[in-house]
Amino acid sequence: MGRWLEANGYERGVTLGVLQVAELARAWWQDRLDPDWRPHTREENQAILERVGLVGRFWQLA
């Protein structure tokens, strides 16, 4: 990861294991094709992040 960050001049963010990424994806996207989908509120999205263990300053939504 360091090579890619350095090559592009990026500061390190947060690295997650693929199991957690997939868990986040299920929670975040699973309703996206529901025929009666409605937008998530910011609070709902923040709760999804928290539910999969993503807490702290980095994961605070705007």
């Binding site: 868990e23 986040l24 975040w28 992040l49």
Partner: protein, 139 residues
């Protein structure tokens, strides 16, 4: 988002499933003002000139390094997170093909019941959540 826009948005996503790909704007028949409102609500992302869908997240309207096979179609996703979102949204198993940004290795990941295999891979989130929508394409 008002009720009419929500219904239009849901029709666009239904078309995506029916077609097995991101529709063109012409195919949706949705007017530009509505699309701009939906973009302002973060319900979709248009190309800068408004000529096409850049993102119907988690699906991408343009080719990306994240290719997902699911529900009999090959989809492009916007990032690693979205790549797993494609089978999740479709409610099916899938397969993700991607390239490691760091080492260039080809990555092949099966998704069954929402669980990825192999499980020893990682994904890097570059930006903090409060900055995701400042430039969602970069994010």
């Amino acid at each position: 988002m008002d009720e009419r826009d929500r219904v239009r948005r849901n029709r666009i996503y239904a078309q995506l499933v029916e077609l097995g790909r991101v529709p063109t704007i012409e195919e949706t028949g949705v007017d530009e003002a509505t699309l701009r409102r939906l973009e302002d609500e973060h319900a979709l992302v248009l190309e800068p000139d408004g000529s096409a869908f850049r993102m119907l997240a988690p699906f991408s309207g343009v080719p990306t390094p994240y290719l997902v096979e699911a529900k009999g179609s090959r989809w492009h996703a916007n990032c690693a997170w979205d790549a797993f979102g494609v089978p999740a949204a479709l409610g099916v198993d899938g397969h993700v093909s991607a390239t490691c940004l760091d080492c260039g290795d080809r990555l092949e990941v099966g998704v069954r019941g929402g669980e990825p295999t192999p499980a020893n891979l990682v994904a890097h989130f570059l930006l903090p959540a409060e900055r995701w929508w400042a430039d969602i394409v970069f994010t």
